[in-house]
């Protein structure tokens, strides 16, 4: 069997030995503390070719989007969100609003009085919300006007409060340190309700007859979850969920249960440490660190709840050399069993691959298979196979384990699914 090494691996290795840090992945969104949003009707595109009418929040002057913009602020900021509703059904303006669960002392001014908060009843009636972002963490926001319908229609989004102790931390404790962070905002949709609204039947919509047919991560259903962020063909779904990390890096998952169903979110590759829930570090006392964190391979995501989890992968104790016969060294100067730059697990260095793989004609190949079991290596593949694995990374599926939710309107595969890649050391991310 012939293995060919790809240049990226060597290039990446050089990156590290030259100690040039690669910037980590950050979450797409808009910075605060002042936000001017409009709510408007638009449509989203589905991978099965369908489109769904939605209502969404968007930056003033831009199309609305699903989910709404991820609002990113700093702890201690006085956050101000101005909202105007441009939603109308049969020519009649539809009032809408915003709630900020997990925030305290939210004030609303302008607009018109509503049940849960003040509302914008139209373009000429803006409402302004203001609060101090006291606690760091992962939060959501959503409509407080007829929420059973409006949240389903798409009026929701994520809010991230960065801690005062600075970048690279989720909370004000070293236990929350990360190199990369990704958002997993989980929702689902019943397109029949949306069609009724689009047809102007606002009073006839029965949200209790809800039967979801689409499932989303960050507003996209697979395989669109893996398309680039800001893809031109998905103008109202700007956020993706293409998750990438490297051996030894720590990745922060910010999971938001933003829909109405529970989802068991299964992340292949390794257990995570769930360090926070609803914007609160899982700690026994202030300053104790995440001593109440738990380890999981499937995170039970409850509607309205958020979870912060840390993912870390090295291939430790796999029992075989993950770089195979590619020329490489394992230099463990600090005695932690890992190479000091590549995070290779040195006791496995040089250990042969434990089994023989069958001949090509006996196998079916995945598009994200590099042709080699080794990290950073590309092997030979039959014509037309592979091709979706640029750096020879290890791909793992991250998805709802209610596998029914891995479909798009009766078509498998799709839905609440994406891939996470452990790229070879030194691969530039993003």
């Amino acid at each position: 069997m012939k293995w060919t090494r790809i240049c990226n691996w060597i290039a990446g290795f050089c990156w590290l030995t030259l100690a040039v840090p690669s910037a980590g992945a950050a979450i797409d969104g808009i910075p605060g503390p002042t936000f001017n949003l409009t709510a408007a009707a638009d449509t989203i595109s589905m991978p099965d070719g369908g489109s769904v009418p939605v209502w969404g929040y968007g930056p003033e002057g831009s199309r609305s989007q699903y989910p709404g913009p991820t609002l990113i602020v700093n702890q201690g900021d006085t956050v101000t969100v101005a909202l105007s509703s441009e939603i109308a059904v049969n020519g009649t303006p539809v009032p809408t609003s915003m709630l900020f669960p997990g925030q305290t002392g939210v004030t609303a001014s302008g607009g018109s009085e509503g049940l849960l908060t003040r509302e914008s009843t139209g373009p000429d009636d803006p409402v302004t919300y203001s609060f101090v972002a006291r606690r760091p963490g992962t939060y959501m926001y959503h409509s407080g006007t007829r929420p059973d319908l409006q949240v389903e229609m798409g009026l929701l989004g994520a809010l991230i409060v960065r801690p005062s102790q600075g970048a690279g931390l989720a909370y004000n404790h070293a236990d929350s340190r990360f190199d990369h962070e990704y958002l997993f905002l989980l929702t689902e949709m019943d397109p029949a309700l949306h069609e009724q609204v689009a047809a102007g039947n606002l009073d006839g919509v029965d949200t209790s007859a809800y039967y979801p047919m689409y499932w989303f991560i960050n507003g996209r259903a697979a395989p669109d979850t893996m398309a680039p962020a800001g893809a031109s063909w998905l103008p109202t779904q700007p956020y993706n969920a293409m998750i990438r990390t490297r051996p030894g890096d720590t990745m922060l998952m910010r999971i938001v249960g933003a829909g109405r169903d529970l989802h068991p979110f299964h992340h292949h590759g390794n257990n995570t440490r769930v360090i926070a829930r609803d914007g609160r570090l899982l700690q026994s006392a202030p300053g104790a660190g995440a001593d109440l964190a738990y380890s999981e391979f499937t995170i039970k995501t409850v509607p309205g709840a958020t979870y912060d989890a840390l993912f870390h992968w090295t291939g430790r104790k796999m029992g075989w050399d993950i770089y195979g016969d590619a020329p490489h060294e394992c230099n463990d100067g600090d005695g932690d069993d890992f190479d000091d730059s590549t995070w290779e697990y040195c006791p496995d260095h040089g250990e042969p691959f434990p089994v023989q793989l069958p001949e090509a004609q006996e196998l079916a190949f995945g598009g994200q298979y590099s042709g080699s079991p080794f990290l950073g290596t590309e092997g030979s593949l039959p014509p037309g196979e592979g091709g979706l694995n640029e750096y020879g990374g290890f791909f793992f599926m991250w998805h709802s384990h209610v596998e029914k939710e891995m479909t798009n309107f009766d078509v498998f595969p799709g839905g609440m699914m994406t891939m996470m890649v452990v790229e070879p050391p030194g691969t530039p991310i993003p």
Partner: protein
């Protein structure tokens, strides 16, 4: 590349007959260190380079099961081919799928070699689907042995793929096929999998905090030390707090009969309208869950007993029962409740329930009377029967609509706990 395995003689013969190169594998090929005749059982003292090899040979194909109301359902699934010669594997595996799949039990420190042979689907020859094994929850995974077809390889009909895993984390896992996951999992390619901790093998008399470990058959050669003799634990707890006397792996599952019938009759599959109506424990609905005899073998698979596992939980008063609960249905969250016997949750996600999932973490055990699991979730639950009056108790779902077999009550996701 240096090879550490000797392909067994028959495999080599097949490979040569197929005109492949000397290192090529073809057809049904078991890879198991120390196994010379291809039955996935080490011969003699095994391979000295791999003294802790544990081998399993599974077939992936189709079959039939009988629901508790008597109705046969078509299914996809795994069969146990361990101990069967390579020559007979295809014939033995055909239509022999069981539900749940054969339970895989191994020990921390084992090297697990699992050979998967795709025996084809006799009732749906039009599908020619490949299959995989996904070890759900195994940590520090590699793509090649993770069983996700998009990210690696899957095995075609008539051939074998061997998965390797170095077992370093004890706990309650599960496994399933990941090819066309929604379909193959609804169809039944699901099984129990758990790894026993190395703490079971400590020398007799070892102090674990205030607990003194018992291991009367202790032997420094682990192959002569039965890990089930003496004290047994769910995890390497360091203090005996996860010690149990009897353990039961119980997998929650459910089937949508309309989906299975559509598959059997080559009709479009109802993904969007999938609604499970047979809720089960270890592949049976109540009262079959407590029957020591399997449900009547379906005629459709030639009379193969395809539901070998009951879920009757039995213990002597005062004993500690470990429930290794997992959920692998593809539509619902299920809550199971133990009536009359308090539950103590000591593990989740195949880790001890302590801060960070490590033995030295802060104690997060909790007492409860119910546990809720979505698909792909697992929990380890201790039932301490100290002071519990002898009698019959129940473990049942509190999603009460699933206490039926396709609407016929009382049945579904329920079993009995008998304290003697």
């Amino acid at each position: 590349m240096e090879r550490i395995l000797w392909p067994c003689r028959t495999a080599l013969a097949v490979a040569i007959a197929a005109g492949a190169s000397g290192t090529a594998l073809a057809g049904v090929t078991v890879q198991c260190p120390g196994d010379q005749n291809g039955d996935a059982i080490s011969d003699g003292r095994g391979d000295p380079d791999h003294p802790n090899a544990r081998c399993v040979h599974l077939g992936a194909g189709d079959g039939y099961v009988r629901m508790a109301d008597g109705r046969p359902l078509y299914m996809f699934g795994f069969s146990d081919l361990t101990g069967i010669s390579e020559k007979k594997a295809m014939d033995t595996g055909m239509l022999a799928a069981t539900f749940p799949a054969p339970t895989i039990v191994a020990d921390e420190g084992d090297e697990l070699y699992l050979t998967l042979t795709n025996v084809g689907m006799a009732v749906r020859p039009d599908l020619f689907d490949p299959h995989t094994v996904h070890y759900h929850g195994f940590p520090e995974a590699s793509s090649i042995f993770d069983g996700v077809p998009e990210a690696s390889v899957s095995i075609n009909m008539g051939s074998s793929l061997t998965y390797y895993y170095n077992l370093v984390e004890p706990g309650t896992y599960m496994y399933h096929c990941h090819v066309e996951a929604t379909e193959h999992m609804q169809m039944g390619m699901l099984g129990n999998l758990y790894i026993r901790p190395i703490q079971n093998r400590l020398p007799d008399g070892t102090a674990l905090g205030t607990h003194v470990h018992s291991n009367p058959d202790y032997n420094a050669d682990r192959n002569d030390d039965d890990p089930t003799v003496g004290d047994t634990y769910a995890y390497n707890d360091g203090d005996g707090s996860t010690r149990y006397d009897v353990d039961y792996a119980i997998q929650l599952g459910s089937f949508d009969p309309a989906f299975h019938d559509a598959s059997e009759t080559t009709q479009p599959l109802p993904f969007a309208y999938m609604e499970d109506r047979y809720a089960m424990l270890n592949g049976r609905g109540y009262p079959d869950t407590v029957s020591s005899t399997p449900p009547q073998a379906p005629a459709e698979n030639g009379g193969i007993e395809s539901q070998p596992l009951d879920s009757l939980i039995e213990a002597q008063q005062g004993e500690r029962i470990l429930l290794r609960l997992s959920n692998l249905n593809v539509t619902n969250f299920y809550t199971v409740s133990s009536q009359g016997i308090p539950m103590q949750v000591i593990g989740r996600g195949a880790r001890i329930l302590r801060g960070g999932g490590t033995p030295d973490g802060r104690d997060l055990y909790y007492r409860t009377s119910s546990v809720t699991l979505g698909g792909g979730e697992a929990a380890d639950v201790l039932l301490d029967t100290t002071g519990i009056q002898p009698g019959t108790y129940f473990l049942y779902t509190t999603n009460f609509q699933y206490l039926t077999n396709n609407g016929a009550d009382v049945g579904g996701m329920m079993t009995e706990i008998v304290i003697n």
